[in-house]
C-alpha cells in the first residue's frame, strides 16, 4: 500500500487517490497549426520512463484537489509531492 502525501491533507492511503498520468503535458495553444503527427504526439505518446517520473495525482476521496508527484516507477518510492504551479 502506497502512503501518499497530499500537499493539503498530509499522508493518506493510496485508495483515497486517483492517478492522473504524466505531468507537464500542456495542450497546444493553437491545435490547428499542428501537423497530424505533432497532434498525435501530444494526444497519445508518453515518456513512460523506467525510473523517475513526474506525474499527476488527485486526492479523489479527500480534498479532491490535483497535485504533482515525483515517483520512481521501479521502486514506487515517492520522492516528493507538490502543489501544482509551486
Amino acid at each position: 500500500m502506497l502512503l501518499i502525501k497530499c500537499p493539503w491533507c498530509g499522508e493518506r492511503a493510496e485508495t483515497e487517490f486517483s492517478y492522473g498520468g504524466e505531468a507537464g503535458i500542456t495542450r497546444p495553444r493553437d491545435p490547428d497549426a499542428l501537423s497530424d503527427a505533432e497532434w498525435a504526439d501530444y494526444l497519445f505518446n508518453r515518456t513512460n520512463p523506467r525510473g523517475a517520473h513526474e506525474e499527476l495525482w488527485n486526492h479523489a476521496h479527500g480534498c479532491r484537489r490535483w497535485f504533482g508527484a515525483e515517483r520512481d516507477t521501479v521502486s514506487y518510492v515517492i520522492a516528493r509531492t507538490y502543489k501544482l504551479g509551486s
Partner: protein, 415 residues
C-alpha cells in the same frame, strides 16, 4: 531430439541418461540477419516463424533474463478470439487457428485445452453488448453463442446465479473453442522449435543501445558485446518505451503492473473459464487443481513486477462475488507482469521510422492468447518489410491517422 512415444520408451530403457537440453546456449555471433529483442513467447514465436515460414535462419533471440521468466510465465493462460471489431477478431482468430495445431507443429505439448470461456453479463446493457459481440463474431466466422442464466447454472454449478446476488448474472457469451494453455510450455516449446531450425537463443543478454547508420538500424549493443544486425525486431512488452527511446522514438504506450494469483490445489471444481467485466475478475482451474485468478491492471504506471494490495483485495472480492464457495481458499502465489497498454487497447505490430527496426508491443493485458499469431504476423512484417493484411491495421501510423481500433470495453473483459 524428436519427442515421441518411441523416444520416451527408448530413454526410459537407457536410464534417461541421453536426453539433450531442449535448446542450446550458444555464444552470440558477431552478426545476424535478424535480431529479435525479447525472449518471451511473442519473440520466440517470431523467430520460429521467421525460420519456418520465411527461411531466415541467421536469427538471434536476445533475452535479458531467462526463457519463461517474464510475462509469458506471469499470466492467467486464457486463450480466446471473441473480440468485437473485425480487425482485432481476425488477428486473434489467426492465433486461435495456430493454437489448434500448435502442439503437433512444435512437437511439444503446450496443453492447449479448449474448455470454453464464459463472459458474464450482469446488466441489461451487458447483455445487449454480449449479443452484439456474439453476432459480430459469427459474422467473422468465429464460434460464439449467448447462454442464459439457467444454462449457466447447469454448466457451472458453483457460480452464484441467484437473482438476489449483489450483481445478478443475467447470462453470458460462450466461445467453446476458447480455453487455456500451459504458459511455460508455450515458451519452452517455441524456444525448442526455433532452436532446432538454427535460431540462437541467447539468455542473460540485455540490450543497452540500438545503433543506426544512415537512417537504418545496424547493430545492438548488449551486455555480451556488440551484435550487428540487418534487421531488429523489438518485442519486449512492458519495456517497449525503454527500447524505443534507445532509437529516439516515442510510443503511445504506458506500462502498468498486472497481477495474477494461484490458489492451493483443489479437487476439480471448475472445468471452464469464467470472466466478468462488471465485477472485473476471471478464474479457471489448472490441471494441478489450482485456481488461476486475474483481474485488472494497477492504475498507476509501474515497472516493479509486483502489484498493489488494493488490487489484490479488489480481485478477491470479484472472485468471491462470483463463487462464494471460494471464500476460504488460500492463495499460494501471486506475481505481477508489466504490461504496456495502448490508448485503444490494441497492439502495435509495425514498421518504424527507422529502416530495419520493427516494434511489436502494446498488447496490454491480452498478449498471451495472441502468442502464435503475434509471432506469425511479426515474422511476416520483418521478412517482407511490410505488414501482413492481418496486422496492417495495427500499424503505429494509426495514432496519427486516427484509425484506432477501440477494443476498450468492446472486448469481453479487460482481456
Amino acid at each position: 531430439m524428436k519427442y515421441s512415444a518411441l523416444n520416451l520408451v527408448r530413454n526410459a530403457l537407457t536410464g534417461n541418461r541421453n536426453w539433450t537440453p531442449a535448446w542450446r546456449s550458444p555464444e552470440p555471433a558477431r552478426e545476424y540477419d535478424v535480431v529479435i529483442v525479447g525472449g518471451g513467447g511473442h519473440g520466440l514465436a517470431t523467430a520460429y516463424y521467421l525460420a519456418k515460414e520465411h527461411g531466415i535462419r541467421r536469427v538471434a533471440v536476445l533475452e535479458k533474463g531467462w526463457i519463461g521468466g517474464g510475462n509469458t510465465g506471469r499470466n492467467t493462460t486464457i486463450v480466446r478470439s471473441n473480440y468485437l471489431w473485425t480487425e482485432a477478431s481476425l488477428l486473434y482468430e489467426k492465433s486461435m487457428q495456430l493454437w489448434e495445431g500448435l502442439s503437433q507443429d512444435l512437437n511439444y505439448n503446450v496443453m492447449f485445452s479448449q474448455r470454453g470461456v464464459y463472459n458474464l453479463g450482469h446488466t441489461l446493457q451487458d447483455m445487449r453488448d454480449i449479443e452484439r459481440r456474439v453476432s459480430a463474431n459469427r459474422l467473422n466466422g468465429i464460434d460464439a453463442e449467448v447462454v442464459t442464466a439457467a444454462q449457466l447454472k447447469t454448466a457451472i454449478p458453483y457460480l452464484d446465479t441467484s437473482p438476489d446476488a449483489r450483481y445478478p448474472i443475467l447470462g453470458a457469451s460462450l466461445q467453446r473453442r476458447a480455453g487455456v494453455a500451459r504458459h511455460d510450455a508455450v515458451a519452452w516449446g517455441f524456444a525448442r522449435a526455433a532452436d532446432s531450425l538454427g535460431v540462437d537463443i541467447i539468455e542473460q543478454c540485455e540490450v543497452t543501445a540500438i545503433r543506426t547508420e544512415q537512417g537504418g538500424v545496424s547493430a545492438v549493443e548488449t551486455t555480451r558485446g556488440t551484435i550487428r544486425a540487418g534487421k531488429v525486431g523489438v518485442v519486449v512488452a512492458g519495456n517497449a518505451s525503454v527500447l524505443a527511446s534507445m532509437a529516439g522514438l516515442r510510443l503511445p504506450v504506458e506500462s502498468h503492473p498486472l497481477q495474477a494469483f494461484v490458489s492451493e490445489p483443489l479437487k476439480p471444481v471448475l472445468d471452464t473459464v469464467v470472466m466478468s467485466n462488471a465485477v472485473h475478475g476471471y478464474v479457471s482451474q489448472s490441471d494441478k487443481g489450482e485456481l488461476v485468478i486475474g483481474a485488472g491492471i494497477d492504475a498507476y504506471l509501474g515497472y516493479g513486477q509486483r502489484g498493489s494490495f488494493p488490487t489484490i483485495e479488489h480481485t478477491m472480492e470479484a472472485i468471491i462475488t462470483l463463487f462464494p464457495i471460494f471464500s476460504r481458499v488460500r492463495m499460494l502465489r501471486l506475481w505481477g507482469g508489466i504490461v504496456d497498454v495502448c490508448p485503444d487497447a490494441c497492439p502495435i505490430i509495425s514498421k518504424t521510422p527507422v529502416a530495419g527496426l520493427y516494434f511489436n508491443c502494446g498488447w496490454g493485458t491480452g498478449g498471451f492468447k495472441a502468442t502464435p499469431g503475434s509471432g506469425w504476423t511479426f515474422a511476416h512484417t520483418i521478412a517482407q518489410d511490410r505488414p501482413h493484411e492481418l496486422n496492417a491495421p495495427f500499424d503505429l501510423e494509426r495514432f496519427t491517422t486516427g484509425a484506432l481500433i477501440d477494443e476498450h470495453g468492446a472486448a469481453a473483459v479487460a482481456h
